[in-house]
């Protein structure tokens, strides 16, 4: 078996910890996250509350576990949405390279790039009000041109290759060629980009929740935990530090995994070994 890079192991381990925490939270958390226990409010980390408690006396470890659920769900669905829309668009643009459809898709892409995810979220929230779903839509819309561009770029270089010519000579149309010959050969690119967008999605969800455009109470979310911690930062710094570390470690894990996957999957790197 091939030796896998260390970054991949570390990254996968970190990501797995948080995925596991999110899964376990469906069945069990150390304390309930919806009750208020004023008696035990603002406690520093201790044996009873590993990560301490917040201003309502809620157990921060439990909130982190449930919050992981929100973060991962939002990011996964937003990446799925970006892929589901962006990949076909990118394949279509590449199959039509130089044509009108390509031009329209790429101009549309440029236009969406002018709307950062936050701005899309602001627009959507202004119309429909804030919610986790709207955060997903905003991040998903933002992901779409990213995947379209990566797909098109990868596909364009493949369309110049002779095996595509051979498939055309074998009477295969652009749609079939895109699915049979292009997609399998850009899967690596998409997997790597997917992990990058996944980690960006977690950061974006945190930011949107922090400014109140994301998940609404009582759904626990890392971004909102930080927003609530802000006013208490001088008396209970652990309230701010712990959710932040959760974000950093998850994103770091995903990025390391993405880097590791690129090393394993990129044929250029692989050939050099």
């Amino acid at each position: 078996m091939k030796r896998l890079p260390l970054t991949l192991w570390i990254g996968a381990a970190l990501s797995a910890v948080f995925a596991l925490a999110a899964l376990v939270s469906f069945l069990w958390t150390p304390y309930a996250v919806d009750g208020m226990m004023i008696a035990s409010r603002l406690q520093a980390p201790s044996a009873a509350h590993w990560f301490g408690t917040d201003h309502f006396g809620r157990d921060i470890l439990s909130m982190i576990m449930v919050g992981a659920r929100t973060s991962i769900a939002v990011a996964v669905i937003a990446v799925g949405m970006g892929m589901a829309l962006g990949v076909p668009l990118g394949l279509l643009a590449a199959a039509n390279r130089g044509g009108l459809v390509d031009e329209i898709i790429m101009r549309g892409n440029d236009l969406i790039f002018a709307f950062p995810a936050l701005v899309i979220a602001i627009l959507i929230t202004a119309v429909f009000g804030p919610s986790a779903v709207n955060a997903i839509i905003a991040i998903g819309i933002f992901n779409t041109p990213v995947f379209a561009r990566v797909t098109r770029g990868g596909a364009l270089s493949l369309w110049t290759l002779d095996y595509i010519r051979a498939a055309e000579v074998a009477g295969k149309g652009p749609a079939r060629i895109s699915v049979e010959h292009i997609l399998p050969n850009i899967a690596n690119l998409l997997i790597v980009q997917g992990t990058i967008q996944f980690s960006l999605g977690i950061l974006a969800e945190a930011a949107l929740s922090y400014v109140g455009l994301g998940a609404q109470p009582p759904t626990p979310s890392w971004g909102r935990m930080l927003a609530e911690a802000q006013t208490m930062i001088s008396i209970a710094p652990h309230m701010a530090i712990i959710p932040g570390l959760a974000i950093v470690l998850t994103v770091l894990g995903l990025n390391l995994m993405g880097d590791g996957l690129r090393d394993v999957l990129d044929p250029r790197v692989r050939r050099a070994r």
């Binding site: 790039f113 701005v119 602001i122 950061l203 930062i233």
Partner: protein, 315 residues
């Protein structure tokens, strides 16, 4: 060169028109009657009708769009419903905070990332390179607003070198405001600098593998001379693309980070406007943000042409 600039200008104008259409229709058309929406469920019908007239909502949609765009072109952004003052004035005051903050953060990003990326590329494979790559990996993972809170905790609350927030205003002098913007700018810049340093490193390494570097070495250039004389300018092409994208991230980041430092910028304005359903303000601020991003894309396109002679000929 002029033709290239003109063609980019044309496509920029087109983007602006489409963007304005999108913003206008999303905000004014989808939610139904904006007047009743802005006033809430319990508003009396007369009040709604009055607001409708005031906003010109009894006009056909296309006329309203033209009026909105025409107004913006002449600097008239309409009147805020909640503040009862021209939106243009509101935005102008807030822009004086957000724009300097973004530019400050962008400068910091570049000043940090260029040397760090170059050093990593020059020493690739070494312990120093590994350290830089590890550090930037961490930097990318840090949410800027959380980093901002840590900066406040450490530099403002513990060390008390900076104030925890607030903005004195430009009439109070230059440096005092720069000082007030320093912690926010650092918080914004660090994650972006991590990204840019990595891009810089891989762009330089990529160009170092090119044939023309070997040619330069065969001419007798040392590897350092080959990097400075030939690799750098070519590596700048992908780096410029990223800097352009980073501007929009920094602008969005500035809007978020204003919350941490209680800065009276566009972010505070727009979030208040959303809670108060002041759609005219939301619409105008969003348009302004999009305008800024498109303008920067245009500047980046011009910078490409300055760096790469192959683009100058192309229309």
């Amino acid at each position: 060169m002029l033709r290239y600039a003109l063609s980019r200008l044309l496509s920029l104008s087109l983007s602006l028109v489409v963007a304005s259409l999108v913003i206008f229709f999303v905000i004014e058309v989808i939610p139904g009657d904006p007047a009743s929406y802005m006033l809430g469920m319990n508003a009396r019908p007369e009040t709604v009708a009055a607001l409708s007239r005031e906003l010109g909502l009894d006009q056909p949609i296309f006329t309203r769009y033209l009026a909105w765009v025409g107004g913006m072109l002449t600097g008239d952004f309409g009147t805020s419903y909640t503040y009862r003052v021209p939106v243009g004035d509101l935005i102008a005051a807030r822009l004086g905070v957000s724009l300097p903050l973004t530019v400050y953060a962008l400068l910091l990003t570049i000043v940090i990332a260029f040397p760090v990326g170059l050093i990593a590329a020059a020493t690739r494979g070494s312990a120093l390179d590994a350290g830089i790559m590890g550090g930037t990996q961490l930097g990318i993972a840090v949410p800027n607003f959380w980093f901002a809170m840590l900066l406040v905790l450490f530099f403002a609350i513990t060390l008390q070198w900076f104030s925890a927030g607030g903005f004195p205003g430009w009439d109070r002098g230059f440096w005092i405001n720069i000082k007030a913007l320093t912690l926010p700018a650092v918080a914004l810049a660090l994650p972006q600098a991590s990204i840019l340093a990595r891009v810089m490193r891989s762009a330089v390494i990529e160009t170092l593998g090119q044939d023309y570097i070997r040619t330069a070495r065969a001419k007798g250039l040392t590897s350092r001379q080959a990097v400075v004389g030939h690799a750098l300018r070519n590596a700048l092409i992908p780096v410029l693309t990223i800097i352009g994208l980073q501007f929009s991230f920094l602008l969005a980041g500035a809007i978020i980070i204003e919350n941490v430092f209680f800065l009276p910028g566009l972010g505070r304005l727009i979030f208040q406007a959303i809670t108060q359903r002041d759609l005219i303000v939301v619409e105008s601020v969003v348009m302004l943000l999009v305008f800024a991003v498109i303008m920067v894309t245009f500047l980046v396109d011009l910078a490409y042409a300055a760096v790469d002679p192959r683009l100058r000929r192309r229309a």
